[in-house]
């Protein structure tokens, strides 16, 4: 069964979710990854949405983070401040998913601005809950397409702190565990620097290095991600039949 790089990225992210854990899900690709995990190897995954929904079982792709489809079949609805306070700050979120416009070698994420903050070239949406999740989840998984301009040496703005800045904070969570892209999987060494841990099937290591804005370190043996199984692809395409997220040109 042929598959797209976006599908491979979602499948690789889904596989990192563990059964019985609590994952704070955003809409878009993270929502697909979490729902794929729930419907494959992690049937007891608890999906938490920042709008305040716990144990959601959406029957369609949520159109926004506050989609009523998240409520149907859910176990509980909390006020947002309760969710952020009691779940996220309370240390009850095992995994947080993040996307961003830029990531640097230490896992710092930018979703605020391209250019200077006061004279932006491109004004992006901003943190939303991303900075909160980055600092408070027990671990974060980052999903983003692998392009040179999105992997700069330094991000233009640290919206969500990665491995280094957060070290000064005694109370911060575990920070970024991996960046999962459409080319491979990057993990972090003990110094908090990103390295290439795996490439997806058919992806050349050199291509990854070329599309990274700094001299990317590599694992001694770079693994190859097992390709999506037909089962994974079937579930995934069933979740996004129109290809809203999986086929668009990101």
């Amino acid at each position: 069964m042929p598959w797209t790089p976006a599908e491979m990225m979602v499948v690789a992210a889904a596989r990192r979710l563990r059964d019985e854990e609590r994952v704070l899900v955003g809409i878009g690709l993270p929502n697909l990854a979490a729902n794929l995990a729930l419907r494959s190897h992690a049937p007891r995954l608890t999906m938490v949405y920042e709008a305040g929904v716990v144990g959601a079982r959406p029957r369609r792709l949520p159109l926004s983070i506050g989609d009523p489809c998240l409520v149907e079949g859910a176990r509980a609805v909390l006020a947002m401040h309760e969710l952020f306070s009691w779940y996220l700050q309370g240390g009850r979120v095992d995994t947080g998913f993040l996307e961003a416009a830029q990531v640097d070698r230490f896992g710092n994420l930018n979703s605020t601005v391209i250019g200077a903050y006061n004279r932006p070239k491109v004004r992006l949406p901003g943190s939303g809950g991303a900075c909160d999740i980055a600092l408070l989840a027990r671990r974060t998984l980052i999903m983003m397409p692998h392009r040179t301009e999105r992997f700069p040496e330094r991000v233009d703005f640290i919206t969500s702190p990665g491995c280094t800045a957060r070290r000064c904070l005694s109370w911060a969570g575990g920070g970024p565990e991996a960046v999962i892209t459409d080319l491979g999987v990057l993990e972090f060494d003990t110094e908090g620097e990103m390295y290439l841990a795996a490439v997806h099937p058919g992806v050349d290591e050199a291509k990854v290095l070329a599309q990274t804005g700094w001299p990317l370190r590599c694992a001694q043996r770079i693994a190859e991600t097992p390709p999506p199984t037909p089962e994974e692809l079937t579930v995934l395409r069933d979740l996004d039949p129109a290809g809203v997220h999986l086929r668009r040109g990101r």
């Binding site: 989609d67 903050y117 949406p125 600092l135």
Partner: protein, 303 residues
């Protein structure tokens, strides 16, 4: 008992929203008070400080219409679609002052405002570049553990607008589904305008008081505005008009596109009823969702 709170949106905005006010339009992508936003545009309010965790299309429209001098927010995008072009354009040109937080920090500001606290502590923000661009983000040391946490000041809007399923004439607002920021935003404000799909008898509210998310005494005006959250969704009433959200991106590709849209859909209609009529029965019917009712629970009688 009638308190005289039940009114029209025209009157409520005229009476309670003034130039220069800080206005919080509540609702976390669910039950967004679009009708109220349009009425504010229609009455040509100026120099507003708009506050909203997710500005959404409604703030984009109000910015395009020239109502706002400042935006306090935490995520400014077109949810599920892309960016807000009027917002972006204004910020990129330096025409709109912004004060930026994370979601948690925005909610903490409202929680402080609702609670009569001057600040709220939270574990976030530090290590990001946000404190460097927003002097309202400070730190505080725990008097027990010595830990350093972030602190944000209370947010006290002059007016908060909520949109909900129902309220009685006293303004006791009942909400189910996603509640989001609505409770804290209401309690934090000096005045609250409650827009609802239905104004119901007070016995409907008293029958299930645990569903009352905003009690009447913090509410100044109650307005029946069916479809008042269009194009966003309201649990149990209607779905999001997703086509509208997608098309918005095209509509707003140019300043002229905005102007034409505002002329047609805001200035070109008298009120929400005319707006709904212009949308047409067919389109509204398509957005209505199949019913799914709760089972009753027993409160018992204790007397």
């Amino acid at each position: 008992m009638s308190s005289g709170k039940v009114t029209t949106l025209t009157e409520a905005i005229a009476r309670f929203v003034h130039d220069g006010h800080t206005v919080y339009l509540a609702g976390f992508t669910h039950a967004i008070p679009f009708a109220a936003g349009h009425e504010i545009i229609r009455q040509r309010r100026r120099n507003l400080i708009l506050a909203r965790a997710t500005p959404d299309l409604i703030c984009d429209q109000m910015i395009a219409a020239g109502c706002a001098r400042k935006l306090i927010f935490s995520w400014g995008g077109n949810p599920g679609v892309g960016s807000l072009r009027a917002f972006r354009r204004a910020v990129e040109r330096g025409e709109l002052e912004i004060e930026e937080y994370t979601h948690f920090a925005m909610l903490s500001r409202l929680a402080a405002g609702a609670s009569g606290l001057p600040f709220f502590p939270l574990r976030s923000l530090l290590g990001s570049d946000l404190p460097g661009v927003n002097p309202q983000i400070r730190t505080i040391r725990c008097p027990f553990t010595g830990e350093e946490l972030a602190a944000v000041p209370s947010l006290r809007p002059d007016v908060t607008v909520v949109h909900a399923q129902r309220a009685d004439a006293e303004g006791n607002v009942q909400i189910w589904g996603i509640v989001g920021d609505q409770r804290e935003a209401a309690f934090a404000a000096s005045r609250v305008i409650a827009c609802v799909e239905e104004v119901v008898d007070e016995l409907v509210v008293a029958n299930d008081p645990n569903r009352t998310m905003v009690p009447g005494e913090v509410v100044s005006a109650v307005v029946a505005v069916p479809f008042g959250a269009h194009p966003s969704y309201v649990q149990g009433y209607y779905d999001r008009d997703n086509q509208f959200y997608i098309e918005w991106d095209g509509v707003t590709a140019t300043p002229d596109g905005y102007a034409a849209w505002l002329d047609a859909w805001v200035h070109g209609v008298r009120d929400r009823q005319e707006y709904a009529a212009r949308l047409g029965q067919g389109r509204l019917a398509q957005l209505q969702t199949p019913t799914r009712y709760t089972a009753p629970v027993n409160y018992g009688t204790f007397s």
